[in-house]
Symmetry: C2
């Protein structure tokens, strides 16, 4: 029975190399995209020989899927104030994630290359947007419980309504939404979803 940490004879593999390779892969994936990324470039940026990469991942695809799988993005819970404020808070974070830093570029890349490699995009989506959507769903459901939101609508669909302007803007190379625009979107949707009549 293998323990997973069984000692193999010979020189152990460098964990630093592992990390450097995965990091360089994510960087280049965000910058160049799937087709534009080359193993040679990864090796160069990671300061590593190409053989060191191929010893760990048999093919370029395996490296990519693994890089996406090992990636981590920051995630913070909403402060838990009013539903409106929480939504604005979370949507601002979503906007920052898509427009600042490398995660937005990466997700845009994955979405783009998702036409070719759907699994890769699904993976990134599962990893990044799924937990944020779950947190958002809790806020929506709190709004429903508190009576501010109609209870006959699918929370997922409300989330899409709120989030899609940001994603759509990011994916179609528009400017980032301003705080006023986010507030306006939230207010409009919430006003449209108020119970009664």
């Amino acid at each position: 029975m293998s323990t997973g940490t069984e000692r193999r004879p010979g020189r152990p593999r460098s964990p630093a190399a592992d990390e450097a390779i995965l990091d360089a892969t994510v960087d280049l994936l965000a910058e160049q995209g799937f087709l534009g990324l080359s193993v040679e470039a990864v090796a160069a940026r990671a300061g590593v020989a190409k053989t060191t990469i191929y010893r760990r991942w048999p093919t370029k695809d395996d490296l990519l899927t693994d890089a996406v799988a090992c990636m981590k993005g920051p995630h913070s819970e909403p402060p838990g104030e009013s539903v409106r404020d929480d939504l604005i808070f979370m949507l601002s974070r979503v906007r920052d994630a898509w427009f600042k830093g490398r995660f937005g570029r990466l997700m845009a890349r994955l979405a783009a290359d998702g036409l070719e490699r759907p699994e890769l995009y699904r993976q990134g989506r599962e990893r990044f947007v799924a937990p944020r959507r779950a947190a958002m769903r809790r806020v929506i459901e709190r709004g429903i419980a508190e009576g501010g939101i109609r209870r006959d609508v699918d929370p997922e669909w409300i989330i899409s309504l709120l989030v899609s302007p940001i994603i759509s803007a990011a994916l179609t190379h528009q400017d980032a939404l301003s705080r006023r625009q986010i507030e306006f979107g939230v207010d409009t949707v919430l006003a449209g979803l108020r119970p009664g009549r």
Copy 2:
């Protein structure tokens, strides 16, 4: 002074070849994307020699920009009934454009490759989404004039609010929106934008 139709000596260029090349280019661009497209593949699909292509366009980039520029998409005006029905009509067309036929795939490709060639995406956007947004803007402004929509909001932003769920779904490989979802989105936004209070 050149008339533009000046007769050149020798065998004239085949217009059929022109059309076949541009058509094949658009097809392959939609299927393979910018980096995946090869001049050789275009020649093969168009049933044309590679030299015939390079005689017309000096480089691959010129061919692509020209192909996008020459492309035409169907566009139909709304029937002009109620603002709600017109919006639902137009959004259904937008959905069809993004999810059926090759135009959606093409725009998704342009958006994806827009990370690399912003001009190419801007061009496609100017050609396809600009006229539809303009038509939509007229409907919104009719709604404002009729008093069903608050007049203190930017129509462009309302359009984004309405359209982005569709675009976002298309660009993130979700299923196409159902008619009920479109209706619900329109109703929610319109309800949130009603004047008063």
